[in-house]
Symmetry: C2
Subunit: 112 residues, 2 copies
């Protein structure tokens, strides 16, 4: 069970924002996505991730890392490279990846 | 009609990552959310936004801005302040806000 909110430390740290729309050929997608979340969370420097997908719409996954080196290592992970290839060839109609440095953060509502 | 993908320029620019879970009291939420997206996109410095919500689950909205000053101006917008108050009091069980500087970006799959 993956937590819905990532327990990130005080900034600075890094966020990889992955926004995607899917094709209609989604065989194998859910199992692979679940496996990749587990594998990502086990990588050195990964601080967790948050994910949402509107049915028949857009999906956003934000993964948090301590530093850029950890992001590049995860991108080059052999199992992840295989998943990325399937994503490009089958599952994603379009995607945008943005790598960003988190500079400040807060949460709410206070008192809940 | 809001585009699903924000047409952002070459980095650097800024991202506000808003991750939230909802309460069960959602009266007025959809209309307000739609109004706030339209209003945000009309703000100086706003480059667009992307949003996804898993039914009964987590929602992620990422809004893109040219600079920190534009983010602070939008946060202080009078109509937005009213929406933020209702969000804190009624609609959001929990939220995390992270302000990040986008340093690099790419899209895919190539050729589609």
């Amino acid at each position: 069970m993956v937590e819905r909110f990532a327990a990130t430390p005080e900034p600075p740290y890094y966020a990889v924002i992955f926004t995607s729309s899917q094709t209609e050929y989604l065989k194998g997608y859910d199992a692979m996505a679940e496996a990749m979340v587990e594998l990502a969370h086990a990588q050195p420097g990964c601080l967790g991730s948050e994910s949402a997908r509107t049915p028949d719409g857009i999906g956003i996954t934000v993964s948090y890392f301590t530093d850029e080196e950890s992001i590049l290592a995860w991108k080059a992970n052999a199992n992840h490279l295989g998943a990325q290839r399937l994503g490009r060839e089958r599952w994603y109609a379009h995607y945008e990846v943005r790598v960003a440095r988190v500079e400040r953060a807060y949460s709410g509502p206070q008192g809940r």
